[in-house]
């Protein structure tokens, strides 16, 4: 009787071997940490968290640059993080001696936020830089860490302008 289903028994054996091979393969290949927290490789969390940072974070900057902190405290830019303008500085924070931040071009950096645009909130300080400054660098008049120009300073600048007869030349940026 078994002779007549011999081929089916052999087939069943082939299937059983296949299933066994699958189970063995699974045990060998599936990563150990799989399923630790859920249906994923638990070790992935650690790997993702171990990525090096590029932005140091303003608290790191402030630990050393206390003078700038004092300056900023007086003005509106107190809420602006250092790296918003200066870019990612984790490498500088890691090795302040060798890695120096690049000098910023205020015409580019300031305009990003303060260039007038109808889409920006009305109460946000913005100017059409072409009309406002006529091409001179923003830091000619504004100190970026404390951008508000005092009334006395504005008068002083106006007197300077009146004195010079020819086109203005951009002066060196103040610290």
């Amino acid at each position: 009787m078994f002779k007549d289903i011999e081929h089916l028994i052999r087939l069943a054996a082939v299937i059983a071997i296949g299933l066994l091979a699958f189970v063995v393969l699974r045990a060998a290949v599936v990563p150990r940490s799989f399923g630790e927290y859920g249906h994923y490789r638990g070790a992935a969390i650690g790997e993702i968290a171990a990525r090096p940072i590029a932005f140091a974070g303003h608290e790191t900057c402030e630990a050393c640059h206390t003078d700038v902190v004092d300056q900023k405290k007086l003005g509106k830019h107190v809420v602006v993080a250092c790296e918003a303008c200066h870019g990612a500085q984790a490498r500088h924070a890691d090795d302040p001696g060798s890695v120096k931040p690049a000098k910023l071009d205020t015409a580019v950096v300031c305009a990003r936020c303060h260039e007038a645009n109808a889409a920006k909130p009305k109460n946000f300080p913005q100017v059409a830089t072409a009309d406002h400054a006529g091409g001179i660098a923003c830091d000619t008049c504004h100190q970026p860490h404390h951008p508000k120009i005092e009334a006395a300073k504005i008068e002083e600048t106006k007197i300077e302008e009146a004195k010079s007869s020819t086109a203005k030349t951009p002066t060196e940026g103040k610290k």
């Binding site: 490789r41 992935a44 650690g46 993702i48 974070g57 050393c64 918003a84 924070a93 990003r112 936020c113």
Partner: protein
């Protein structure tokens, strides 16, 4: 003024301790970073966004985002009168270099930063065939790029369009809420550089987090609530025209 040369890694005290464990390869074992003590989200304050693009640039730098793909981006909306179902929207290069000037034509304008919403009931993790994308115990939807097949099912399943395939790794990628930063006690790159505080990281499980007070006193929404994704990015002052 001279900065005295100090060669030291100055991080927040908590982050400094965590750093030890990170270097050992087991950040989740760090004593001050218990995975289950956090439930991360973000708060976006639309009236404060000025569309400067700092967040998009910072994210690209922090996370090596390839050109032409965006882990976060900004959309500019222009709504005319009552036509809130037909806004004009643009996002030139994701808003990375700000937006071109526009004449004031009397319409309503505003900026909407977008990113992965780190959904609590995320449709993308539901469809991943192998478990390469998942929600961490602290509420961040992450991608295991050494396990991802690149089948793109998750990209199709995301209602918000925040996913893409990284052409260098051929795996799915998206905003990771700067998991490598927030697990060290820092904030995300985008929140760090936002000059107006329009973007703020939120820890929904932390009772002292200012988001709880904010949610109580402001009108907030999530994107596409009808999708029931459990999105954890909350938008303050979001107009009905936002898609």
């Amino acid at each position: 003024m001279d900065i005295s040369r100090r060669r030291m890694l100055v991080l927040l005290p908590a982050a400094a301790v965590a750093w030890k464990f990170v270097l050992a390869g087991t950040p989740e074992a760090s004593p001050n970073f218990k995975l289950t003590e956090h439930w991360w989200g973000m708060l976006i304050d639309i009236p404060k966004c000025i569309g400067c693009g700092s967040c998009v640039r910072a994210c690209a730098e922090e996370n090596d985002v390839p050109e032409g793909y965006y882990r976060t981006w900004i959309e500019r909306y222009h709504v005319t009168d009552w036509k809130i179902e037909k806004p004009e929207v643009e996002s030139p290069d994701g808003g990375k270099n700000g937006f071109p000037p526009h004449a004031d034509d009397g319409g309503k304008n505003f900026f909407v930063p977008k990113l992965c919403n780190h959904c609590a009931d995320s449709p993308c993790t539901q469809v991943c065939p192998v478990g390469a994308t998942f929600i961490s115990p602290d509420g961040v939807v992450l991608v295991d790029k050494s396990y991802c097949l690149g089948c793109r099912y998750c990209v199709q399943a995301c209602p918000y369009g925040c996913r893409f395939i990284n052409p260098k790794t051929n795996t799915a990628e998206k905003c990771s809420l700067c998991y490598h930063r927030i697990s060290k006690g820092l904030t995300t790159a985008c929140c760090e550089v936002c000059p107006t505080g329009a973007r703020q990281l939120a820890d929904l499980k932390n009772p002292k987090d200012p988001i709880h007070e904010f949610l109580k006193t402001h009108t907030v929404q999530v994107l596409k609530p009808h999708m029931a994704t459990g999105a954890k990015v909350f938008y303050n002052g979001m107009d009905g025209s936002v898609r």
